[in-house]
């Protein structure tokens, strides 16, 4: 049975009719067309589907869309403004912290959650914050370097 819900994604409100068994990931990608959020393992391990719910990183593949009602959702699309990338995205580009790019949206959102709470994170803080985002190509050295550079600005 479909239910009417209102989702608050990247400062926009969306009225939707969805079934209770649909995950936030499916709704973001298929109903809202926000395909920056990736589907990786679909089982809570890889972190590719990370979004921010009220500022905290969560896995959208294991979140029911109904549970995201009334909460502020930020996806990777919400970080750029007026065709200008956000500071973390720019830092990742400058350091070459991207290879295939599949883990990047999740990794950047985990990093954003960290920097929003702690503007001067240590190396350990950064490693801990990124521990739930698996990268299988470029590794973690460059993302960590990008974030350390941002933290020391």
């Amino acid at each position: 049975m479909k239910q009417s819900i209102e989702l608050h994604v990247n400062k926009c409100f969306y009225d939707l009719e969805i079934e209770s068994h649909r995950t936030l990931l499916e709704v973001l990608r298929n109903d809202l067309g926000l395909t920056g959020t990736k589907e990786g393992c679909d089982g809570g391990e890889c972190g590719a589907c990370t979004v921010l719910l009220d500022g905290l990183p969560v896995l959208s593949c294991l979140t029911l869309a109904l549970d995201a009602q009334g909460r502020h959702i930020v996806t990777i699309e919400g970080l750029a403004h007026d065709n200008e990338l956000g500071p973390i995205q720019t830092a990742f580009m400058e350091e070459g912290a991207i290879q295939c790019g599949f883990c990047t949206p999740g990794m950047i959102l985990s990093a954003k959650a960290l920097l929003d709470r702690n503007q001067k994170p240590t190396l350990e803080d950064i490693k801990e914050a990124l521990s739930g985002n698996l990268c299988r190509c470029t590794g973690y050295t460059k993302p960590i370097r990008a974030l350390l550079k941002l933290a020391n600005k």
């Binding site: 679909d42 809570g44 969560v58 521990s131 739930g132």
Partner: protein, 331 residues
Amino acid sequence: MHLKPFTYYRPKSLAHALELLQSSDPKKSMLMGGGTDILTKMKLRLARPVAVISLRGLTELRKIEQQGQEVFIGAACTLSEVKESNLVQHFFPIVAEAANRVGSPQLRNMGTIGGNVCLDTRCLYYNQLEWPGSLMPCFKRGGEKCHVVKKGARCYALYCADIPPTLLSLDAHLIIAKPSGEREIPIVDFYQDDGISCNCLKEEEVLVGIKVPIRQNTVSSYKRFSIRGAIDFPFVGVAISIERLSNGHYGNPRIAVTGLQSQPLRLRALELLLESSHAGEKEIEEVIEQGVRDIRIVRHYGISPSYRRNVLKVLIDDGLEECNIKGGRVK
């Protein structure tokens, strides 16, 4: 994988949740805390509930507060909330430490402490199998055999949650609500050594929270070992709580482990040996050796029982060292 359709309820009060559990068929409805365990199970088609009842809207299950000489931790508090709670950090640092070691930051922002306490057992042939059809169903899947212990007459799935050993070592109690009222049981009586159903929570019951007694002069530690920190469950985890006595000695050691059997275990034999030993550092190693000798450990995930036992000994040794126990005295 897509989830199969179900009816979703998000009750606002515990009474309403219990009512919903009673009115729907309890065998076909499931309680959901953070969803990290049950949604994964539903995606693997290991669970097919008709109704899912979320506990996240229940404010009485989302508080952490001091009640006299105890601290109440609501079952629906996320692991991040538990980790960041000043009360938990101050009185029970090992619970905060264990909460911080569960999964990744994302999972800790979602998963609840009640979910961790009620976590199902895990097995390579049950909830980590991509192609279940390729094997005969095991006991946990409703079949007649165990793939881990080939001639075994029961299910040997492992209990691997991080929080319960710390609660066992702190003598915590669980508050469980049922339609006719509440009951409070020591956490040690909550678990049973059965891979299919490792705890005694009945279908019509809801875990409300955990009461942990505050003890002064207690030193504690939690050590765990897993292959990959943010993804894997521990294949051994050890929680130790020991009281400092006024004469410089220690007393009442309580040691609990996870990841060895189908339930978290108190190592009573080792506790008794430690209590009665007041010897030098070298002998502590012998005491540990003797204390863990009789624990039954089976091969899981390709890790041999002897390696697992060795890791257990090292973790106990590290934990005692962190508690500053040396030669029968607290340093």
